[in-house]
């Protein structure tokens, strides 16, 4: 066997051992080592050279990046997640013809969808979604994320929150917790517009706080413009489109002059 492959495999074994021990610092340093070693393989993207060990190398690299993605979730590092995911993606798209499908593919793709949802990057979410085949959309991991997005768009926030209990994969919990925070901000934004006032206990329930104290802290931090009176929260109403009392004369003069100029040109 190629000595390079052996070396990578050995480091990867140590990485996996550390991973099981939950020794994430060791994992991170081993991972950077692995990534450097991987650059030595010519069969990997973007070169895709047809070396004799191509399939073996590709599988190994894919496995490493899959672990890297999961590791970034465990260390709660979203930037690292994005980086590792993009490095992994060519193995799922461009190398599809060369490798058997990875069992981790759908969970990881679903995880990425969830991340985009949490970061409120809905356009990218849909772009990713277009890349999936109809059979992939049936996969529980993907479906979970897709349904979440739908409930989120509709405004059925209860469904988003109850989805936490039905996560298809343990790594999803981290993002689901983040999503709960996003949902709270959304609810706060909606309530502000939809209600004149809410009693404190209702507001607490709606914004998913366990005590009034947390609620008050949240209001102080995020929405200082809300007013608390007589045990109720009063939201500042957004300004309505008031009937115009004054004629915007300057604007009108400008417009009329430009019409005159244009008409002059035509006639």
């Amino acid at each position: 066997m190629d000595p390079k492959i052996t070396e990578v495999s050995q480091v990867f074994e140590r990485f996996k051992a550390a991973f099981v021990r939950k020794d994430f610092d060791t994992c991170t340093s081993l991972l950077s080592q692995l990534k450097v070693l991987l650059t030595g393989f010519k069969s990997l993207p973007p070169l895709f050279e047809e070396t004799p060990n191509a399939v073996h190398e590709l599988t190994l690299a894919r496995d490493i990046y899959e672990h890297a993605v999961v590791l970034s979730v465990k260390t709660e590092d979203q930037d690292a997640f994005e980086r590792d995911f993009f490095q992994l993606k060519p193995y799922y798209t461009d190398a599809r013809g060369r490798l058997p499908q990875s069992p981790q593919e759908y969970p990881i793709l679903g995880l990425n969808l969830l991340r985009l949802l949490v970061q409120n990057r809905i356009a990218e979410f849909h772009t990713e979604l277009e890349l999936l085949s109809p059979s992939a959309l049936e996969n529980p991991c993907i479906k979970h994320a897709v349904e979440l997005e739908q409930s989120f768009m509709e405004g059925a926030y209860n469904r988003v929150l109850s989805a936490r209990q039905t996560v298809p994969h343990e790594t999803y919990v981290y993002f689901m917790d983040l999503l709960a925070k996003t949902v709270r901000d959304e609810i706060a934004g909606c309530s502000e517009k939809a209600y004149d006032s809410l009693s404190l206990s209702d507001a607490r329930q709606m914004l998913l706080f366990s005590s009034d104290k947390e609620l008050l802290e949240y209001i102080n931090e995020e929405h200082p413009e809300w007013e608390i009176k007589n045990g109720s929260v009063f939201f500042q109403r957004a300004k309505e489109s008031v009937p115009c009392k004054e004629i915007p004369s300057l604007q009108l003069i400008n417009q009329t002059l430009s019409y005159a100029r244009e008409l002059e040109r035509i006639v």
Partner: protein, 488 residues
């Protein structure tokens, strides 16, 4: 600028098929060759454009015998190109061909083989192969032509080249190997940019977008599109295609307002005969308008030749208009195969939320006050806690400005607000202004698009002077042509 119609491989059948005997077709081809020749010598790109348009009309009449006779006529027999191109044309009907060669020989053909004519021959053979459904040979032929094009840098070839790029991509698409040529197309686009070949850039950019979108690679397509140089469109068809692709990308990325504009413009600008293309544009435009919360008019679905193709979308629109979730689900299931072949499935999933919105809007208009439990019942929300769901859905709709209402949590009802008098605000003035601006802009663009024949304002030069000038130009062109020949 160019008028030739080639959007979706749908050509109106040539009018008189009876007179389409091979000699006349050959004669036509020879006329075209002459046209290209003069175009090349006088450096008038427009002549070449006309030649291509003419060729497309002859397309249905192309036969192997005619083609090989034409090749013998324009190319030097025994030359590299000649033998290569002839190998693609099936040798049938030997007798007929001999007659044609004989006649062509007597006509004292120009045997110096201009690069333009060479490229034109490639184009002709390629069109023929595609029409004959001999795709693997078409692929080989197009690749050879692209390799030849790389070494040519002449403005008069650009028009022909852009057509070749199109058929190059088409032949690969027909065999399903579009991903293979992506690198090549990118390289060609780069070359075209360096040579300021704007038509080529335009065509290649569209081909690349098509290539990416074929594999649903919207991200890459958008990155390329936003970074590629843009300039005023040279070809109406290419511009239509560009708008269509742009509309698709924007739809996926949820920029519905811009997407709608691009798609509608593409549908309007497309030539009447490009029915397939217009149907596609309309399908997407309908969905985008639905996603925007608009309901397309009935006339959109009743356009000539489109009723059947747009039927599923018509029923879908109906479901959204009524705001009935059950009906919407039924329609989506009924036409699932159509939607998935149109690749609009994911968009239709997004529509669910609009159905709820419309239903909600209807409720808000009809009732001044309604309990949330009734709202949930009317919207047919089937969930564990319909009232809480309805409440959050309504509050989001209020925030997004879809309905004008307030919620009363303590009593559990929704109170719709009185609609104010819009004419007491500045709104109408703003709307009026934007319409006037649109009309004025349209007029200005129309004026700018007018085309005048070159030098018409100058004095007419005398006949003798013109002859002299033309002769000089021709000599110069011949010189250059010979130099080119020497190079290769």
């Amino acid at each position: 600028m160019t008028q030739d119609v080639e959007m979706k491989e749908q050509q109106p059948a040539p009018s008189n098929s009876l007179s389409s005997t091979s000699p006349s077709t050959l004669q036509h081809l020879k006329d075209i060759a002459a046209l290209i020749e003069t175009g090349a010598y006088t450096r008038e790109v427009r002549r070449i454009v006309r030649a291509i348009r003419w060729t497309i009309q002859l397309r249905k009449k192309l036969k192997a015998s005619v083609l090989s006779a034409f090749l013998n006529f324009v190319l030097v027999p025994g030359s590299d190109v000649h033998s290569r191109l002839s190998s693609y044309v099936p040798k049938e009907d030997e007798h007929d061909m001999e007659v044609d060669t004989a006649t062509s020989a007597t006509q004292a053909p120009a045997k110096h083989s201009l690069p333009e004519l060479e490229i034109y021959s490639y184009l002709l053979v390629l069109i023929f192969l595609i029409d004959q459904k001999r795709y693997s040979e078409a692929k080989a032929c197009s690749s050879a032509s692209i390799a030849r094009l790389r070494n040519l840098n002449r403005r008069t070839v650009d028009v022909l080249a852009s057509r070749l790029y199109f058929y190059y991509s088409l032949s690969y698409e027909l065999t399903g190997d579009l991903a293979e040529i992506r690198g090549n197309l990118l390289a060609l686009h780069r070359t075209a940019t360096l040579r300021h070949d704007e038509l080529g850039q335009e065509t290649l950019l569209n081909l690349l977008l098509r290539n990416y979108l074929h594999y649903n690679l919207y991200d890459q397509a958008e990155k390329l599109r936003s970074k590629a140089p843009r300039f005023e469109a040279h070809s109406n068809q290419q511009f239509c295609r560009y708008l269509f692709y742009l509309g698709k990308i924007r739809t996926i990325q949820l920029e519905y307002t811009d997407a709608k504009e691009s798609l509608l413009q593409a549908a309007r600008k497309a030539p009447v005969s490009a029915l397939g293309f217009r149907v596609q544009c309309n399908k997407w435009a309908v969905i985008v308008r639905l996603l925007l919360g608009e309901i397309p008019e009935r006339t959109v679905f009743m356009q000539k030749g489109m009723e059947k193709a747009l039927r599923p979308y018509f029923e879908l629109t109906n479901a959204v208009r009524i705001g009935d979730l059950e009906l919407f689900k039924a329609v989506a299931e009924k036409f699932a195969t159509t939607f998935s072949s149109d690749r609009t499935n994911n968009l239709i999933v997004r529509l669910r939320h609009n159905v709820i919105r419309t239903g909600l809007r209807n409720i808000s208009i009809s009732y001044s006050r309604i309990s949330l439990a009734d709202v949930a019942k009317k919207l047919r929300l089937d969930s564990a806690n319909p009232v809480a769901d309805a409440e959050s859905i309504v509050s989001k709709a209020i925030r997004d400005g879809a309905i004008d209402a307030t919620l009363d949590h303590a009593n559990g009802w929704m109170v719709s607000k009185e609609t104010g008098d819009i004419y007491s605000t500045n709104e109408p003035q703003i709307a009026f202004n934007s319409r006037i601006a649109f009309c004025l802009n349209m007029h200005n663009e129309a004026v700018r698009a007018l085309r005048f024949p070159p030098n018409s304002h100058k004095e007419k030069e005398s006949a003798e002077k013109r002859r002299e000038r033309q002769q000089q130009e021709q000599e110069l062109a011949k010189h250059i042509a010979e130099e080119d020949d020497d190079e290769f």
